[in-house]
């Protein structure tokens, strides 16, 4: 008990003196509005307590009040770095519920845009992990490539982010006339961008020493935590929904699933870099195979009223496996819509990862999980 006789300046019990450090929600490297309460002993983290919920917007509940087509915009705003991937998973859910055939050309357009979005998302990751580790320049290199992709997105959908371009049963409209030319111009530049952001960081000696052997996790633990995506593949588990349960037209492409070995921060980084190269190869194949034909939904402009029933679909987002559980009661609005966000599950291991690390590691570990708070909090 503390009273007037206690000498606060002289802790005699020999316990380590812990300082409570509140990191966030307003901190430059918490990737948005994430909050970590850290108990630090000098530079060492003794305990950590993550707090989420600062970006909670009630997206899932909002979905119940909107018509099926209007929900797409809400999905755009969940994982706001991988918009197209999010639109895709929702459209797939409703399509599966209705048993809708999507025009083949639309499937190819979706795959191309999703893979471009994956590259854009991973480039953003490269930029942020660079900043977390203290390097400014990779951000700029990565953003150049991301900017090029976003210009293409703008030409296609009219918006750089929050595209609202996919529709249930197809996409909104035919691609612009010069799309083939644009993407033919973009791909070589993008290859260079990816290579440069790879070269400037991945094998840098200081970057290696900051990320290698930091916060390793075994594959069993990772699976127990529900990890998916590049984080899980970094532990050496070769699990990719695009391969394990191919959706859309992913079974028609030839691509590798890069995996790491140790499951530390650097392996997660390396997996993401390799994935960008694989995505580029998928895009090239998709452009070669893309058929002509209609892209718009067979539904036209009619209201969507799926039959009564429920469905669970999953897809590979840049951050991992996203799942959508959709329950329909036959009206024009979803009865219940539950999202299984990859960031949330990946983030759940943070407390374990942060144990006994250095203070400077905490931001790198958080960065290597590559979370998007919009998706964690929904």
């Amino acid at each position: 008990m503390i009273d007037s006789t206690t000498n606060l300046n002289n802790p005699t019990d020999g316990e380590p003196i812990e300082m409570l450090l509140n990191m966030g929600p307003q901190h430059p490297s918490t990737h948005g509005v994430f909050r970590m309460v850290l108990w630090v002993d000098g530079e060492k983290i003794v305990r950590a307590e993550p707090h989420i919920g600062y970006l909670h917007r009630g997206s899932e509940k909002l979905c119940e009040g909107e018509q099926y087509h209007q929900v797409i915009t809400l999905f755009d705003r969940m994982d706001y770095i991988g918009n197209f991937n999010n639109e895709l998973i929702y459209c797939m859910a409703v399509e599966q519920l209705m048993g809708l055939e999507v025009p083949e050309r639309a499937e190819y357009v979706r795959v191309i845009l999703c893979e471009l979005n994956r590259i854009a998302s991973h480039l953003l990751y490269v930029g942020t992990i660079g900043l977390d580790a203290g390097a400014m320049t990779p951000t700029m290199f990565a953003f150049r490539g991301r900017e090029r992709i976003q210009s293409l997105f703008e030409a296609v959908s009219g918006a750089r982010m929050m595209h609202n371009y996919f529709r249930i049963g197809g996409i909104k409209e035919e691609l612009p006339g010069n799309f083939n030319q644009m993407i033919a111009d973009l791909l070589p530049l993008l290859q260079v961008d990816v290579e440069e952001s790879d070269k400037i960081l991945t094998f840098n000696e200081i970057f290696l020493s900051r990320l290698k052997d930091v916060a390793p996790i075994t594959s069993d633990d990772a699976i127990d935590f529900g990890w998916t995506g590049p984080c899980l593949r970094g532990c050496g588990v070769e699990y990719d929904v695009r391969k394990a349960q191919p959706y859309s037209v992913y079974d028609r492409f030839d691509f590798e699933v890069p995996v790491g070995l140790d499951g530390d921060c650097w392996d997660r980084h390396w997996v993401r870099i390799q994935e960008m190269y694989e995505s580029l190869s998928i895009i090239r194949q998709a452009i070669r195979q893309m058929p002509d034909g209609s892209v718009t939904s067979p539904l036209g402009r009619r209201l969507v009223r799926p039959p009564e029933g429920e469905v669970y679909v999953r897809a590979e987002n840049p951050r991992g496996e996203i799942g959508v559980h959709l329950v329909s009661d036959g009206t024009d609005r979803p009865y219940r819509l539950k999202v299984r966000p990859p960031s949330f599950c990946n983030l759940s291991a943070l407390q374990k990862l942060l144990n006994d690390t250095w203070l400077a590691d905490s931001v790198v570990i958080l960065g290597s999980l590559d979370i998007v708070l919009g998706e964690v909090d929904r």
Binding site: M19, L21, N22, H27, P28, S29, V40, G42, E43, G130, L131, D132, A133, G134, A135, M136, T137, T139, M140, F141, R144, I200, L201, F203, N204, E205, I206, F207, L208, S209, R210, K212, E238, E256, V259, G260, L261, W266, W270, W358, L359, A360, D361, S362, V363
Partner: protein, 387 residues
């Protein structure tokens, strides 16, 4: 005239001269800092595929002035919980120690405020005082990030002071003097970079750590301690820290030039021009490093200081002593000191190459798994065919 009156007059003239020259030094250094901020923005911009400042004046040359005006006009916020006296005195300590170093750094043979016999000793002594200011700034601002940053700066600067001092000792042994003018003139035949390549590497790296430049900007790392000791400072106070940081950067570049690159010596051009060319070249290297490298972690930083830099600088002293004692030809020192550099370089290279080997392992394993899978599929297919 009586003698006391004469001495008094001389004293007054002396003091007046000192005030004038200090003012001259202050304004020159301020101008240099302005030029450095512009140069850093431009250089970093070019490295990062940007333009840097373009709107203020031709090529953005007036940007430093705009920055200075903005910083001075800003509200100077003092946190309520802070220790006011310490909070106010800390920037003063930092900036005074930064300025005092320049009293004895010569720009050319005669362009020096006061050339001291123990010039190097004086510089090192004052460089340590600045640390005190940083620790006080962190402590006084009553902010946990500030305290962490201040303690980090103390640990970092004290450990990197040692390699700096040891290299300086080696240089002093070579020149047989601590006087910077003598050291430079001794390099008229061969600059010390040729004699001691190891020396300039150790000195430059430790110097980067000394002024808290990338990759050693740990005590004000924005990604974790958000500015460290400076986190609560704003407006003019922050500008003062900024000023001191750039003066220190310039001082480290100038010392590298004086100790290893032959100072103001060079053909055709006047001494001060050569000096400035060399110093700005070194500074551009510092900016280049900032645009390339990430930041080390605290424990790695300390390990690097005590396990690499200190032994290397001891090695340098021993080698220099052997060279001086046996009076071997000059190239023996080059060879001996390059040897240390090569060994350390090889170790760092092998660390960098380790993941490359590991990736080869991963790829081989993946290939194996793929083969096994295709074999399995084949056998399953064969079994299906049999049925």
């Amino acid at each position: 005239m009586s003698l006391p009156f004469l001495t008094l007059t001389i004293g007054i003239i002396d003091v007046a001269w000192m005030v004038v020259s200090l003012l001259a030094m202050f304004s020159t250094l301020s101008f240099i800092v302005l030029s450095l901020t512009w140069l850093e923005r431009k250089a970093l911009g070019r490295l990062q595929l940007r333009l840097g400042p373009t709107r203020t004046g031709p090529m953005g040359l007036l940007q430093p002035l705009a920055d200075a005006v903005k910083l001075i006009l800003k509200e100077d916020i003092v946190p309520t919980a802070s220790d006011k006296a310490i909070f106010w005195i800390a920037p003063v300590i930092v900036v005074i120690s930064a300025f005092m170093i320049w009293v004895t750094i010569p720009g050319s043979q005669s362009l020096v405020l006061r050339n001291l016999e123990l010039g190097l000793f004086y510089i090192i002594a004052f460089a340590v005082v600045g640390i005190l200011g940083l620790v006080l700034a962190g402590w006084g601002s009553a902010n946990k990030y500030g305290v962490l940053g201040g303690l980090r700066s103390a640990a970092q600067l004290i450990s990197y002071e040692i390699p700096v001092i040891l290299v300086v000792v080696a240089v002093a042994m070579l020149a047989q003097s601590l006087d910077l003018t003598v050291i430079v003139n001794d390099q008229s035949k061969l600059p010390y970079i040729v004699l001691m390549p190891l020396g300039i590497v150790v000195f430059f790296i430790a110097g980067l750590a000394e002024v808290g430049r990338t990759p050693f900007d740990i005590y004000h790392a924005e990604s974790e301690v958000v500015g460290g000791p400076f986190v609560e400072y704003s407006g003019a106070h922050w500008a003062v820290f900024f000023l001191a940081e750039y003066i220190n950067t310039f001082a480290i570049a100038a010392l590298t030039t004086l100790l290893f690159l032959g100072g103001w010596l060079g053909p055709f051009l006047p001494g001060i021009v050569w000096f400035l060319i060399k110093v700005y070249a070194v500074i551009l290297v510092i900016f280049w490093i900032r645009g390339t490298f990430p930041r080390l972690r605290m424990d790695q930083l300390m390990a690097f200081a005590w396990k690499t830099m200190v032994p290397l600088s001891f090695y340098l002293i021993v080698v220099t002593a052997i060279y001086l004692y046996f009076e071997w030809p000059w190239w023996t020192l080059t060879v001996m000191s390059s040897l240390g550099l090569l060994i350390v370089g090889y170790i760092i290279y092998s660390i960098m190459m380790a993941p490359v080997k590991k990736i080869a392992d991963i790829k081989a394993r993946q290939q194996r798994m793929k083969l096994e899978r295709s074999k399995m599929e084949e056998s399953v297919g064969a079994a299906a065919n049999v049925k």
